[in-house]
Symmetry: C2
Subunit: 358 residues, 2 copies
Amino acid sequence: MQTTHIPCSSHRTMNAVDPSATRMFLEAQEAADCVRTQLIRNHTMIHSLGAALRQLSPRAVVTCARGSSDHAATYARYLIETRLGLLTSSISPSISSVYGVQQKLQQCLFLAISQSGRSPDLLAAAAAAKHSGATVVALVNAEDSPLAHAADHVIPLHAGPETSVAATKSFIASLSAIAHLLGAWSTDQALLGALTQIPELLHRAWHLDWTPLIDVLNTSDNLLVIGRGVGLGIAQEAALKLKETCSLHAEAFSGAEVQHGPMALFNRAIPALILTQDDATRNGLEALANELSQSGVKVLITDHAGGGGVSLPALHSHAALTPILHAQSFYRVANAVAVARGLNPDQPPRLNKVTETL
Amino acid sequence: MQTTHIPCSSHRTMNAVDPSATRMFLEAQEAADCVRTQLIRNHTMIHSLGAALRQLSPRAVVTCARGSSDHAATYARYLIETRLGLLTSSISPSISSVYGVQQKLQQCLFLAISQSGRSPDLLAAAAAAKHSGATVVALVNAEDSPLAHAADHVIPLHAGPETSVAATKSFIASLSAIAHLLGAWSTDQALLGALTQIPELLHRAWHLDWTPLIDVLNTSDNLLVIGRGVGLGIAQEAALKLKETCSLHAEAFSGAEVQHGPMALFNRAIPALILTQDDATRNGLEALANELSQSGVKVLITDHAGGGGVSLPALHSHAALTPILHAQSFYRVANAVAVARGLNPDQPPRLNKVTETL
């Protein structure tokens, strides 16, 4: 790959930073209002697009994204596969951008997700997909971007300017836009109805007390974040955000994959954060929490009263939307931990806002 | 998920263990002979299957595997996408095994990879795929297994009994079987010709001096393993093996993804292992090695004479096969590091040979 980014800041020790004054904090806090605006402004367009996708009846969906947006793509994948039974694959941009291979994507839906809409590898992959016959839908925050111009359909995120290097509200806005699209596409009135409550619930999720997680992360340099199904993408996002803002080695796993090898890591007193939602995956994740907790692992798990591990408070919503609320509660923790570790979450070491890769 | 495994061993401190007497060492060492046997025994069947797949002309490939086998599936994905331009997706077994959703997989090739052929989630996913119209091909070591019986076509790995919890020769045998299949399917004589040299090259790869990596891992609890394209699956495998056998938190990234967030981790003096091969991804990975090395990161990279970082010796083969050789050189290191850390690589904490998940 070629990269045009230059390491822009080194590790900075900040003294007496107010964690509620960082751009990360202020922008994450805006997520609820962004989603409220988005649901209103996109309403007509999303329902038209949903009808168009039913008409198109794609044979498969291909997602294309990097970083946080790729975790939103994981969320999209599980929503599409569980709601529509439609094969969904996260494309490797390198197949077109590095290897120069023309993939056969006739009658596929190509779903590109990007805050900036500018990364060269996404643009190359979207152009190649369109050339091979795919319909390109772009979820972008920057509506006047090359990716938006290249797409057949644009879903604006309406997240407003995001200046913190760490994406927060644009990630949450990606999740809500994906849920909106899936609700309209599959004409799922329960999902669409629950989605209207999400702005208010995001406000409340921001104020949930996840202090026990802060306490654990203040004394650990490693973490395993475990989710499953529609929650897996948010586990991935939590792990990346802790790397980025806290220089903390957090890694995400599905509740099944963690049992194939990674379990040995718990030998090293590494804690686990388990994110759950009210669907068929909950029992397995709670059983895992109990097993880990009983064997001496420090476990934090959302909404698991009476079981093993420390229960983090969570709000109840449609199971497919609960992960969006977890992301919002989590961002406040990540920001606080970064500041507590003497880092500025707005200026992660070695990173710029827009990383351009091929 | 439900799990039937029970933590079977705790952290054991071993004194004066001979690293060349572990089952992991002895079994990994057999990989070359396994592959030699496999290529001979599978020859006729693989070419028939290749012809059958050309006739079938699947609209997409779906891979299904867990743990090390899933990293072999990553390798398969890149071979299929770069050689055939065919959409390839790693399925989430939970879609069928937990969510109970029937996916639409008509005219898809379902590629299941498993050493034991017994994990319930793979069996459920394979049965669901077959029911929905997919053609099921199973790469299995245990020919008399439920997965083999359920498949339309079986590709035996011929790796022989594998008793170490850490898969080694069965992983390498999976890679060679995948390369064999792709060579036959795409009638790629260059790939097939190069494959005949792999047994001899595996013998030599086992004896390459990767001591610098041992030295680094003896003094680090974390590592980022970076690969790209056809090498990414082997980076994933290396990271998992270090978790499993060394309780070392190693995580794999593509050379592009590592620049979206994970870069901040290098702030913590975490070293990087970069695996390369002679294709369009090499320049980007070498540029990354140079950039990281210049900024103070301890970098080890295969076959990068004169550039940034410590160069690990590597053999030259067809670019699509080089990653197989890296796996073999790496396994010897992982075994040595485990023993040096006072662990028994044959008895990783909290793991059994067969992990059964849903």
